[in-house]
Amino acid sequence: MLRFQAGDQGAFRQLFDRHKGRVINYCYRYCGNAQIAEELAQETFLRVYRAAARYRPRARFKTWLYKIAANVCLNELRRVEHRIARESIDAAGDEGESGSRREPAVDPAAHPDERLAQSEREHMVHQAIEQLQADQRAALLLRVDMAFSYREIGQQLGRSENHVKTLIHRGRNKLKSLLAGYFGESS
């Protein structure tokens, strides 16, 4: 990042290539839609690109990167959803399609029944995550998916560590209740 600040464009390309996969998947876990996830991930890297002059190495670059990603997901999701919905309706015309929803490929070696079951389970998990409050969702994913500490998550979301602890506790407990069927038991 410091090399990019100094004018080395290739350095930004390296950062982009190194982190794009995880950022896309963080956004995907957050919103549950592949197309929207890619839009949010691109917006994250555009903001990194534009904010390069203001970057100060006070924390790990990854902490800063996901601070931007979390805030993009929190603040831009609605706008991106509406825009993609409009584009889908315009593109579909009279066919009434709701737009593309590219799903990740499940294990191709698995039995078809297992592939279907896995797809359904993941759909259930996505639906459960979407029912969490936005900040609970962000905090829980930063902890579980990206393994950031409570302190780092506090820096990313602008919250105290105690508040982060509460967000994660409540988010995880709610998710646990919503996924009772997923586990095949009552919560």
């Binding site: 982009f16 990740p104 998990v125 409570y150 602890k165």
Partner: protein, 156 residues
């Protein structure tokens, strides 16, 4: 759940490795002997695993290309110094200087019409040093009407 069992919030923090080393050791010791707390912890672990088992998404074929197109559309923002310097180069300052010169020339050169000075103005211009004796001047009216004042005194 026994009174000694671990609170939900603390169980979450234990799972997230967010407790002190001392507290972590005592919870670990409790878990070794408490089936109920171990089961509660196991459910939290499986909740996290459900998130992590979501099949990873690979970037679409067009992801990189469309991103770099967006970057190319970003216009570089000139620095503040460059913006100020740009204002003083080019056609704008030449136009401004020309307009100012034309205005000054209009004020100085266009005649506004002349009138002959009044006798009073001529007197003042020739005796401008009388302003040094302002008190004398203010008394002039009195001297003008001196005869009338003397008559008033005689009558009074």
């Amino acid at each position: 759940m026994k009174d000694t069992c671990i609170e939900n919030v603390e169980l979450n923090s234990y799972l997230d490795q967010a407790l002190s080393e001392h507290r972590t050791r005592s919870i670990r010791a409790h878990l070794a002997g408490c089936d109920a707390c171990r089961q509660r912890l196991e459910i939290l672990v499986r909740t996290d695993a459900a998130i992590n088992r979501i099949t990873p998404l690979s970037p679409s074929a067009d992801f990189d290309a469309s991103f770099w197109r967006k970057v190319a559309q970003l216009e570089p923002q000139p620095s503040r110094l460059r913006q100020i310097a740009a204002f003083f180069t080019g056609w704008r300052p030449v136009l401004a200087a020309s307009a100012a010169a034309a205005l000054i020339a209009a004020v100085l050169l266009i005649p506004r019409g002349t009138q002959a000075p009044t006798p009073g103005e001529v007197f003042m211009a020739e005796n401008i040093n009388l302003l040094n004796d302002l008190e004398l001047i203010q008394s002039l009216d009195l001297f003008e009407n001196w005869d009338a004042i003397q008559e008033m005194k005689v009558e009074g």
